[in-house]
């Protein structure tokens, strides 16, 4: 489960909004072997899949839509952010929390099982190439789509991360992130004070923004948190992107299950998002 031996595709500034299924780096269906699957903390697990196409084509912030194996009565796929991807080995990693029947069952899937995956999907993060000082804010498993983003910045970019969790044992990605983000830039918060600061992420975000200016903020986690971060970013006139979750049926833009209200009209979280400009979203 050591992440540091993996390399990640650099962020592609040309990562435009995609209408999926039209060739290029567009979503494909891959039947993927499970390399490994196990708990990292209570109710938080990591699954590693051999998914060469996704691994090669995935941009930070994109997700995969996977079919739950051996759950034939659960006919809908489940969306998960790509946490890590290694184009060379063809491996991708997902972090997931057990919140319902599908994710509970996923924990029982063992090495060697086949999983039907569609990916990579959606609009990923789009930091301005000129950004020099950036802030990533992840609440709970919201850190998952931020890891590839953290890895994508050039070394001359100062990358800060505010990482919040309920408690110390749920701070699952601290070590891998430390490859890219080190002490003074790594800000930990826990709800119970068992690690880092005893507060919500938003408190730290506010302090950081008050202390100095950032060029770009990316946030993922509970929607209330993202909304609060977006408001702070707006106050400080800082470019901010959020990553929104919606119930998804098709996951590829066809069914209109996953609408997000924006100032540009209704948008699909699956292909117009999941990453949106914070200013665009009508919260």
């Amino acid at each position: 489960m050591v992440m540091s031996d993996m390399t990640y595709p650099a962020c592609n500034a040309d990562n435009n909004r995609m209408e999926p299924g039209l060739g290029g780096g567009q979503p494909r269906q891959e039947f993927c072997s499970v390399l490994d699957n196990g708990f990292m903390a209570e109710s938080i697990a990591k699954i590693r899949l051999l998914a060469p196409y996704v691994a090669e084509n995935c941009h930070p912030g994109q997700f995969v839509h996977l079919r739950l194996p051996n759950l034939e009565a659960h006919i809908l796929r489940r969306p998960f952010s790509v946490y890590a991807a290694d184009a060379r080995s063809g491996e991708i990693q997902l972090l997931y929390q057990t919140v319902g029947a599908g994710t509970e069952h996923l924990t029982t899937v063992g090495r060697g099982a086949q999983i039907d995956v569609i990916g990579p999907i959606g609009r990923g993060w789009q930091p301005q190439p000129s950004a020099k000082r950036v802030l990533l804010v992840g609440g709970g498993l919201g850190v998952a789509p931020l890891y590839m983003l953290a890895a994508s910045f050039r070394t001359d970019v100062e990358v800060h991360l505010v990482m919040g969790a309920q408690s110390a044992d749920r701070l699952i990605c601290r070590e891998p992130f430390s490859t890219y983000i080190t002490e003074p830039c790594l800000h930990i918060t826990t709800d119970d004070g068992s690690a880092g600061q005893h507060c919500f992420t938003t408190k730290v975000v506010k302090d950081l923004l008050d202390e100095g200016s950032f060029d770009y903020i990316a946030t993922c986690g509970p929607e209330a948190m993202q909304k609060a971060v977006a408001a702070l970013a707006a106050e400080h006139k800082t470019v901010c992107e959020v990553s929104l979750e919606r119930r998804m049926a098709c996951g590829i833009g066809a069914c209109l299950s996953c609408m997000v209200e924006t100032i540009n009209g209704p948008q699909r979280a699956c292909v117009d998002g999941p990453v949106f400009s914070a200013l665009e979203v009508i919260w």
Partner: protein, 322 residues
């Protein structure tokens, strides 16, 4: 029912023991389809999203998302819920309206090399007819499917499909607006589906499609709220297949016009069940979400079944229960 299709009138030439090809063509009330498989309206966008998975001309036809005269916003989130072997949706026919459809979708659809069935929505009979009138000059349109069965809008939709008189009236008005194949899509949420089917046949429909979704509900016990913002929604997927099959079987006996069958079809075997019950063609709906390759896989599977069973023309399956 499809005797008037010359392309498939060659049984006498076929040596049953050496069947190597199957005539997959069907005639759905004047709409010639290269194979009997289309998609369920609203489950396939307007096709673009699936074009990366397979060439869309592997389908017998594309059926579009519902199109209304003016833009419709649809319902609030959440719009879907998963249920046992099924799902509920309350999308509410969100669509940008017929002008935007003509400008943004039709040109691309015209390039797909496959007939386009436009699914038509309205709040009243004249709104349906207006959409058709607007599309009459668009050569990319091959047929219309009147959705008088959507359970997810308050006014119009399913209301039209539960009353024979209203179903008759809206069909008749649309019939006057077009000579293109006119398919009317029925709701299963009725006591007697045959009565409605006979009404739309009498009003001049060329074909009937069924079933639309079954009205259903899901509740989140922890939050003590309906899962869907709209509270109720339409049930689709494998769960409803037995209901759909029964209705096809009943309507096939009640009307002479051909049927487009749908409701939970996932496999070629499912599709063949619908054809045996009386469907001339079938649509893949919710299964597109489970597996985007469902539709072409079903086409191939139907062909293989016909080869195995020495059936030279797929149209022979229609109503062919022993």
């Amino acid at each position: 029912m499809i005797d008037d299709n010359p392309a498939i009138d060659d049984t006498h030439l076929v040596d049953k023991d050496s069947l190597t090809t199957v005539d997959m063509g069907v005639n759905l009330g004047g709409l010639l389809m290269a194979n009997p498989v289309t998609v369920g309206s609203g489950t396939f966008g307007n096709g673009k999203q699936y074009a990366g998975f397979y060439p869309l001309n592997r389908l017998g036809a594309i059926t579009t998302k519902g199109v209304s005269g003016v833009p419709w916003a649809g319902n609030d989130n959440p719009r879907i819920a998963e249920t046992a072997s099924g799902m509920l949706n309350s999308i509410g026919l969100q669509n940008p309206g017929v002008e935007s459809f003509v400008a943004d979708e039709l040109p691309w659809l015209a390039t797909c090399g496959v007939p386009v069935i436009v699914n038509v929505s309205g709040h009243n009979a004249s709104e349906y007819a207006a959409v058709i009138q607007r599309l009459e000059t668009e050569s990319a349109v091959s047929a219309y499917e009147l959705n008088i069965s959507c359970p997810n809008i308050d006014c119009g939709g399913m209301g039209f499909g539960t009353d024979p008189q209203t179903a008759y009236a809206v069909t008749q008005l649309c019939r006057k607006s077009t000579s293109r194949p006119l398919i009317v899509k029925l709701t299963p949420n009725v006591t007697d589906i045959s009565e409605i089917a006979c009404a739309v046949e009498a009003a001049g429909a060329d074909a009937i499609s069924l079933i639309n979704t079954v009205l259903g509900m899901a509740i989140d016990v922890k939050r003590r709220r309906p899962v869907l913002a709209r509270k109720v929604g339409g049930l689709s997927g494998p769960a409803i297949k037995p209901i759909a099959l029964r209705m096809i079987y009943e309507v096939y006996q009640a009307v002479k016009i051909p049927l487009l069958g749908m409701g939970g079809i996932c496999t070629a075997s499912d599709a063949i069940e619908f054809m045996l019950a009386g469907a001339t063609a079938v649509a893949i709906g919710t299964a597109n979400f489970t597996d985007p390759m469902t539709a072409p896989t079903v086409v191939d599977g139907i062909r293989e079944f016909c080869l195995e069973q020495n059936i030279p023309r797929v149209s022979e399956l229609t109503g062919a229960l022993l």
